[in-house]
């Protein structure tokens, strides 16, 4: 006997005949706002076109993160969003709710205002910025690099994620260290690993890697490397160039 995974609300909506039209309309409206991650073809990756004898070579699949959510969002989210919108206008450009977690997309221009409001407003009161980290989406032209802030409200016992995207040709994000001093090291780490420049940071230097390191290792185009191990006439390629499953 096998345990069934609970269906996610999104897939349930897609299967329902009644709401199919509404869902497809919503999808059409949000086409530009899907977090597009690329396409997978064949079963085997990192050697596409070679070595795939599985018979699934013709399959193509779009890889994308779940779409933007629509109100009402449930839980305490609607109330908090109303509070944010009344304080800082349209600072939040997109709202994602999945797995019971709230993600607010904002722009680099409004990030500072939004963070200050999130910290200081008595109805929000997100005192702690637990974590700042980056994610690299090379398939999203113009917004390749995302910065993700994980906020915690000890007063209300809530969590919230703020996300901002910048192009990798001009990866500048205002620093939030003036609002959250604890973000200091986290921003340095994000700079170190992704090359995102946090303007206004008191001392933006590499933190984990040596100062003269070239490149930013957690970007997707940075190779993993690997030690070339030789067997009788053959070599073992680095892990990122080995054949592996994609679908």
């Amino acid at each position: 006997m096998s345990t069934q995974f609970p269906e996610r609300p999104q897939s349930r909506a897609r299967r329902s005949r009644v709401s199919e039209a509404a869902v497809s309309a919503a999808q059409a409206a949000d086409t530009m706002q899907v977090t597009y991650l690329g396409e997978a073809d064949g079963v085997w990756g990192s050697g596409s076109g070679t070595g795939d004898v599985s018979g699934f070579g013709g399959l193509k699949r779009t890889i994308a993160l779940p779409q933007q959510s629509r109100p009402p969002y449930g839980s305490w989210f609607d109330e908090a969003l109303a509070e944010i919108n009344s304080e800082v206008g349209a600072a939040v450009s997109r709202v994602f709710v999945y797995y019971g977690e709230l993600t607010l997309f904002t722009s680099t221009e409004r990030l500072g205002d939004l963070m200050r409001t999130l910290r200081d407003d008595p109805h929000l009161r997100f005192e702690v910025c637990c974590s700042v980290s980056g994610v690299h989406y090379p398939e999203q032209p113009g917004s390749e690099l995302h910065v993700v802030y994980e906020l915690l409200s000890i007063t209300h016992n809530r969590r919230l994620r703020v996300e901002v995207a910048v192009p990798d040709i001009d990866p500048h994000v205002p620093s939030v260290t003036a609002v959250y001093p604890m973000a200091n090291f986290h921003e340095r780490e994000t700079y170190d690993m992704f090359g995102i420049v946090f303007d206004g940071h008191p001392g933006l230097a590499r933190i984990l890697l040596p100062d003269d390191w070239i490149g930013h290792p957690l970007r997707k185009d940075y190779p993993l490397g690997g030690v070339p191990v030789q067997f009788d006439g053959a070599t073992v390629p680095p892990p990122d160039q080995r054949r592996n499953y994609r679908l």
């Binding site: 096998s2 345990t3 637990c130 974590s131 001093p181 984990l208 993993l224 592996n244 499953y245």
Partner: protein, 465 residues
């Protein structure tokens, strides 16, 4: 008698020392007389001369590089100190000496291999890394509520044994660093019991890879409950010894009370969590406030102190170990009740990685599984596919936090719907807490730095990842 002597080549200083003791041998400054480089010469002399000379240099600020291999910095932590005598004027932590690219490695391994990598980050409390990663993947899979009760109890059991082991190392090395070596002896002795128990359960002393998405790798061994009963009995009897050694010792009190002071305002500004936050009297413990793995079903207290200093954090660690023993005793009852239930989710793909057995050399496939693999071609094919491909995780991102021994351990996981993580970020409490070192040490004594570090208990494996 030989002594070390400072010779400053600045003009004014040379004049001073020359009048005090004309017998000292100087290097000829030559044309370089305007270069302020102190030189230390070893030659015959008397302590009086050294003292007199140092008095003249009393207003000099010296820069000391403490670490990265200093024995009291808890690992490869480097501190750049500006010292005026023994007073710390400024402290700048420098980290990264143990960076191993763990977050990059995640992206090239399957979801099931994640715990094996995660556990190597903060290796003293590795179980918590596995737990936070597995909970995040569970959340992405949408199976958080489908995890069997026994799996949750086993997760809690291992986390609490690991919490005791981690606190014992924090307390023990902290004690040893201020000269209380008996404390370290007791701590290592008790930690050994914890590690032996963890080895009996998971097959490995450290880097256990025991908690996996969907449950745990292996069910309790046949004698597991007896071992757990024996462990709790021993810990309950022996742990109070630590308090007896230290809390009323006048030297210990002087070395820890009022040292490394950080009040609630400072904790909030620096995002400090764990025992350091609780030492300000704020009862914030994620096991109570945002329960996971069924912690809401266990009875335990959140330990606090109100002194905001290293002494308070020490007491909190001792108290938390006692509370952990309490939780372990409840685990015994719950494991007795759930005997025979599954230790991981019953799912063809996710559960396949929690179907291991213990051998004399650690974890491995069970004999039944091996026999099946060698007798059925289809089983072998499925096994190879599961092992190489792993399972798919729906696209999305989650953040999961657990209360690790040092504070909030977070895990931000992004999935693109494939068989490998798109991005995993571990938010280690130690990484955040190293930021607090300057504010709790500057203006204090050099010797208090050691106690400050050990009261925050950053482990460099987690800080640098």
């Amino acid at each position: 008698m030989s002594s070390t002597r400072q010779h400053d080549q600045s003009d004014d200083h040379r004049d001073d020392t020359a009048t005090v003791d004309p017998g000292i041998i100087f290097d000829d400054p030559g044309d370089a007389s305007d270069i302020h480089v102190p030189q230390y010469l070893i030659e015959g002399g008397d302590w009086d001369e050294v003292v007199t000379e140092q008095r003249a240099a009393a207003d000099h600020v010296i820069v000391v590089n403490m670490g990265p291999v200093h024995p009291s910095t808890h690992g490869l932590l480097r501190l750049v100190l500006e010292l005026d005598g023994e007073t710390v004027l400024s402290l700048r932590p420098s980290i990264g000496y143990l960076h191993t690219g763990i977050e990059k490695t995640f992206e090239y391994r399957s979801w099931a291999q994640g715990p094996v990598i995660a556990t190597r980050a903060q290796y003293v409390a590795g179980i918590f890394n596995e737990a936070v990663y597995s909970l995040a993947v569970d959340k992405l899979l949408g199976i958080t509520d489908a995890i069997p009760e026994r799996a949750n109890v086993l997760r809690v059991m291992m986390m609490e044994v690991n919490r005791i082991a981690s606190h014992l190392l924090a307390v023990g090395s902290g004690g040893m660093e201020i000269g209380a070596s008996s404390v370290m002896e007791v701590c290592l002795r008790e930690r050994e019991r914890c590690l032996e128990f963890m080895e009996a359960v998971s097959g490995l002393r450290m880097n256990n890879a025991y908690i996996r998405p969907g449950g745990v790798a292996i069910d309790l061994p046949v004698d597991g409950l007896d071992r757990l009963r024996e462990l709790t009995k021993q810990l309950r009897r022996n742990l109070p010894e630590l308090a007896g050694f230290t809390l009323d010792n006048p030297i210990f009190r002087q070395r820890t009370r009022g040292v490394a002071y950080l009040d609630l305002t400072g904790c909030m500004a620096l995002g400090v969590s764990g025992p350091t936050l609780r030492s300000t009297g704020y009862p914030w413990d994620l096991r109570k406030t945002q329960p996971y793995c069924g912690y809401e079903n266990f009875e335990f207290n959140v330990c606090t102190a109100d002194s905001c200093d290293a002494y308070g954090r020490w007491i909190i660690r001792l108290d938390e170990m006692r509370e952990s023993v309490r939780i372990l005793e409840q685990c015994v009852t719950r494991l007795e009740e759930s005997a025979g239930e599954r230790h991981s989710i019953d799912h063809a793909e996710v559960g396949a990685f929690s179907d291991l057995a213990l051998g004399g050399d650690g974890q491995g496939q069970s004999f039944d599984k091996v026999r099946e693999l060698w007798s059925s071609m289809e089983t072998l094919i499925h096994h190879v596919k599961k092992a190489t491909q792993g399972f798919h995780v729906p696209a999305g991102q989650v953040y999961q936090a657990v209360e690790a021994p040092g504070g909030e351990l977070g895990c931000h996981v992004v999935s693109d719907g494939g068989t490998r993580p798109y991005r995993v970020h571990l938010r280690d409490p130690g990484f955040n807490h190293v930021q607090a070192l300057p504010i709790i040490t500057e203006g204090g004594m050099l010797s208090d730095i050691v106690m400050a570090i050990s009261s925050l208990d950053p482990v460099m494996g987690g800080v640098d990842r």
